[in-house]
């Protein structure tokens, strides 16, 4: 028996947002009389962190602490229209809509504060800790709570805002494919180390080294969640998963999690992640969206690593022990390349 180690590399980019645009997102923001804010969305949080990232974006734009903002989603009676959580559009589209709504609410809040402080709203700034004060004169200050109470009960102002983000639809040329698919791309590079058992064809991923460029990481821990979980899914796509083990035949299709297999907690490889941030010109605070692309580089990296280890190329996913063993037999045994 021999275990062969190999390393494989892949690099990818990923279009952020619904291809060709035409996918609006709307947001509503309003303050309670005590200066706490509610963001009403119809966007969906399926684990990616929509509620959390829009909450931070709203707090940043309003100039209040994140604890003073709650994101309510998704109720079609209260949350305005949104296309949905797919195509890496959530953070990019909804984030921008929330900024627009929060800006409007903030300006009313500053107007109310200005009237109380008898100053020009243009001279006011927020400290992000619940206070509004005159630029350069922190002593001339009012709390967001007092401003909100004044707006509601004295001045009769609604501290609220509406936001929408839409990248209008692009045309596609039937003859050349000319189009404007998206406005920004995320990036990734991945180097995977595998061990291949040349008697059984079993492939073990032993290490992952990655770099992901995600625009601004609006919340680094949410980004890490996506990248770590997504890379695990990429590893799973590469060597474990399929609904059709004998594609294109439909025989032996999995019907449970014992036959539809994914890496277990005992199959994990250490994953060393580096995050680069090149802000997107039209992303919310430069954010892009790491959720979808994070799995993509792992698939080819694993296939390339298997080639590096034993010299066989598995061009049909998933890389099952059987495919590797058959290829090894056809090749007359392992022929390590070790190019990386």
């Amino acid at each position: 028996m021999a275990l062969h180690t190999g390393r494989g590399f892949a690099a990818i980019n990923y279009p952020i947002g619904m291809n060709l645009g035409g996918d609006p997102s709307q947001a509503l923001v309003h303050a309670n009389p005590d200066g706490k804010f509610t963001v009403a969305l119809s966007a969906i949080d399926l684990g990616q962190g929509m509620k959390s990232v829009t909450r931070q974006i709203a707090a940043e734009t309003l100039g209040v602490p994140v604890e003073d903002v709650y994101v309510d989603t998704a109720d079609s009676d209260t949350g305005p229209h949104d296309m949905g959580s797919f195509a890496s559009r959530g953070t990019h589209r909804m984030g921008n809509a929330v900024i627009m709504a929060a800006k409007e609410a903030r300006s009313v809040m500053l107007d109310a504060a200005a009237e109380e402080l008898e100053v020009d709203p243009a001279d006011l700034v927020t400290d992000g800790r619940g206070n509004i004060h005159v630029k350069g004169a922190p002593s001339r200050s009012i709390t967001t709570m007092a401003a909100a109470q004044a707006a509601q009960f004295k001045q009769g102002r609604t501290i609220a805002g509406r936001g929408i983000f839409l990248i209008p639809l692009s045309e596609v040329d039937p003859d050349t494919g000319e189009m404007t698919p998206v406005s920004t791309f995320a990036h990734a590079a991945m180097l995977v180390t595998v061990e291949v058992d040349d008697e059984t064809g079993e492939v073990t991923v032993t290490d992952m080294q990655s770099a992901y460029e995600v625009g601004r990481a609006l919340n680094p821990r949410l980004v890490e969640q996506q990248l770590r979980g997504g890379a695990w899914m990429g590893m799973s796509h590469a060597a474990w998963e399929t609904t059709e083990p004998y594609y294109p035949a439909r025989d032996h299709g999995p019907v449970d999690f014992n036959s539809y297999i994914m890496p277990g907690p005992g199959d994990l490889a250490p994953h060393h992640i580096s995050v680069l941030e090149r802000p997107a010109a039209d992303g919310p605070y430069g954010g892009k969206g790491p959720g979808e692309m994070c799995a993509n580089p792992v698939l080819p990296a694993v296939v390339n690593a298997v080639f590096d280890a034993v010299g066989v190329r598995i061009d049909e996913l998933p890389v099952t022990p059987e495919k590797v063993l058959r290829a090894l037999q056809a090749q007359g045994g392992a022929k390590p390349r070790r190019r990386l």
Binding site: L46, G47, Q48, G49, R221, L222, E224, Q225, R228, G229, G230, A231, W232, M233, D256, F257, N258, M262, G264, P265, G266, L268, H271
Partner: protein
Amino acid sequence: MKTPVTLTLNGAERAAFADPGQNLLEFLRRGVGDLSPKYGCGQGTCGACTVRMNGQTVLSCLVLAEMAQGATIETAAGLATPAMHPLQTAFMDHFAAQCGYCTPGMLVSAKALLDRNATPTRDEVIEAISGNLCRCTGYEPIIAAILSVAQGRIRA
């Protein structure tokens, strides 16, 4: 014909009628209203419905509700008292949940581990959660969260 079933759920006595062939998962959810155990497969392959029955972790979708008569059941809903259990705090601090659907079952398995082994190794943690599938996190943050409690490294 419906069958009356009385059990102790997270310390309180609860009773309801079980449909013929109804499993404990559906009984807990629709019968007595504890929605923390989740349906993920009804086949015993995902662990989302994990609860403790008389101290042992079981897959509630594979327990006939009638057989829980008189049993003591613990679910994730009973973890907070109301202060968060250290495991819950650790899951929050380690970002050990994304969609949150596997989390209640995962916490029940983790609690069962720490109750019998206060200082598990990484491999013991992996073994303890091997019956609970997570599709979001890649498991690593969950393992880290459980280990952090075991090693008393909970960030408040």
